[in-house]
Homo-oligomer: 405 residues x 2
């Protein structure tokens, strides 16, 4: 029988978690009840107590209660529950995990799930599942299933019972059928790639060539979230090489625009010594999604509507200088083989001769600044092609397969 | 054997949907493959073709293709797929539904799921599951399980195969175990209530009293999303009465602040003739979540930090006049029994004698404007209590049970 870790505040939400526990049993799995409530005594006897979780955090539960600092207490319980689920998983004692909560409960739940691997069954029932400003809770949860609870997780009514039944059914179904992620025997090397609409032909071209030669291509969509997941995939050893041709998230990050993927973007493969080909693709656009997020400072600049949700402003020469420096700075962390390939005829679909964003002057500034600031160990190759030319994709794919892996 | 509707663009994502189909079979359910791709021919033979879906929309597939208008084509396919899944569900031909997609695919998937009832197994694998600006796709999906695909749904690599396996396992598990939402035999009347932190004592007090008397209380958290779900629950006949004591979403809506629940908020029960008690609770705050969303116009106003994510500004006399008019306008749609109960000593936890937001002048203006603008059929009761006083909750609960239901 599969064992499911059930994580929650059993002091304030005891009735709701009892109902979840009973459904998991009814559907044929074994619930392992873990209490993370700090306020009071659990309403039923947990298998793992809040005292044990607090101890794992390095601060005892009594001290957490005495401090009366909600944030400090939550942070401690998060440290504790992450350590606990990691241990339970490592020891093979759980085959799934489930939690439910409101704003704060979701934060703890998501933290716990983030400590569990991709492919491991994970489900959260949350009151803030579809609230835009709460999405930061879900940044790091990987492939956790998330369901909206519709009503507050407060008292058992027929709507909440329905949601809890579904939550239990999903995690039991996952535990029964899903397999932990493992590389199939005989699978080829895995290459992470970054894509956005304006670099899609390049990525598809590389992908096709890689797959025809037995490689696996993992394509990440560079929406900010995609870049973070890509860096995490690299960091956790899921890939053998990187072809990073879509760096628009760096532009967002450098100029403080929504959609950046943070300071680690473009750094992880280098720091880990994983072979990487870098192409400064899609750095020519400042993405405003939704369009209303464009600050007044960018009024009057050349722009395109990529679609109704996305307004893009062309980077200018000054911005490309700053960008070139920042890209070089990030790449200079590399300890392994890193090659930059420059598409001399343009870095994105719109930055193409005859297209609205074509600006060889701006591109030249970018390329010049990158070359000037990259450390000598990083090879720079210039190709007289546009980034989306088939020849460019062929060259990049062949270079990865023949020279780097 | 359970049948799962598998909805997708089989022209561009045929390989990925074939893999999903095979996993559903492997896990013991029957996939019913429904093509919504308009661009080209499906990569395998679907059970229900895009031609059939387009026909249901009122526009033939050939015409959609000829128009070359992406938005018009998507809108038509959405109309078609919603009609199709409603029909399949009505006829008892499906016991679950699943889809996967990127930005556009998620939009179609979410639309399809929104046509299916609460409690019906629904799963979406999406590349934009945790992207804040894409959350509007998920506004209407009710209890659909959503999972981040981590990588683009483009080509089969080991990460995507893992996500698809989980998606299949979840929907099969749901279909096997979850029951369609039904009111348990002998259950009492169901009352929808609205709650926010600053009205929690009032709601808990009412809830306790209702439940003690065999009623079911459904509590919705008024974050903007919660209010929308509450109106939908009322609209779809899920409740017998409404005690709406938390109207902060109206404040957000009227003053164009994030967190509004739209123009239908506070109107549905009245239009349907469902008995409702209305209390103008929590209207005293302009919620800025996160705090950075506060426009410069509100600088210098009295504010509180509700928590680190939420900055609240006290409404003033002028704003309360506008609010009172708007609340009355919405309530005047009522066709059934509607009673307004006014808590003369304050409308939220902070609007209480001795607390920072206490402002009898502002409240008086609100109450006065409401009374002046409400149609005569709506009874107004004034109670000399604070909204969170136990006596106020007792009165409201008793009034609902004894006078209205």
């Amino acid at each position: 029988m599969k064992t499911i870790a059930v994580i929650g505040a059993f002091d304030t939400k005891g009735r709701e978690f009892s109902y979840l526990r009973d459904r998991i049993e009814e559907y044929g799995a074994h619930p392992l009840m873990i209490d993370v409530g700090v306020l009071g005594e659990p309403q039923f006897r947990p298998d793992i107590t809040a005292v044990e979780i607090a101890d794992l955090s390095g601060t005892g539960l009594r001290r957490l209660r005495e401090q009366r600092n909600r944030k400090a207490a939550n942070d401690a319980m998060i440290r504790g529950i992450k350590a606990m689920v990691e241990k339970l998983h490592r020891e093979g004692r759980i085959q799934g995990a489930v939690s439910m909560g409101g704003g704060q409960g979701t934060h703890i739940a998501a933290s716990a799930m983030s400590a569990l691997p991709i492919g491991f069954p994970k489900v959260i029932l949350s009151t803030v599942a579809t609230v835009a400003h709460a999405q930061s809770h879900f940044e790091d949860i990987n492939d956790t299933m998330v369901m909206n609870s519709l009503v507050d997780i407060q008292g058992l009514n027929y709507l909440l019972r329905s949601s809890i039944r579904e939550t239990a059914a999903a995690v039991v179904g996952l535990a029964r059928n899903a397999e932990i992620l493992s590389l199939p025997a005989g699978a080829g090397k895995r290459i992470a790639m970054s894509m956005f609409g304006i670099t899609t032909p390049c990525v598809s071209g590389i992908q096709e060539k890689l797959e025809r030669n037995g490689y696996e291509a993992l394509v990440f969509h560079t929406t900010g979230m995609g870049g973070r997941i890509m860096e995490k995939a690299i960091r956790t050893g899921l890939v053998d090489g990187v072809i990073d041709v879509t760096l628009g998230e760096i532009t967002s990050d450098v100029f403080g625009i929504p959609g950046g993927a943070g300071g680690d973007r473009l750094c992880t493969a280098g720091k880990k010594g994983i072979p990487q080909i870098i192409v400064p693709g899609a750095v020519d656009v400042l993405n405003f999604m939704p369009p209303e997020t464009m600050p007044p400072a960018y009024e009057g600049r050349k722009y395109l509507m990529h679609n109704t949700d996305l307004k893009v402003v062309r980077t200018n020469i000054e911005e490309n200088k700053i960008l070139g420096e920042d890209i070089a700075r990030r790449l200079n962390y590399s300890t392994g083989k890193t090659v930059v390939i420059i598409p001399l005829r343009g870095v994105s679909a719109n930055d193409c001769e005859g297209k609205e964003f074509y600006s060889p002057e701006a591109d030249r500034e970018l390329f010049k600044t990158m070359r000037k600031n990259l450390k000598p160990q990083i090879e720079v190759i210039e190709l007289d092609y546009h980034i989306n030319a088939p020849e460019f994709a062929d060259y990049a794919a062949r270079f990865m397969m023949e020279e780097m892996l």
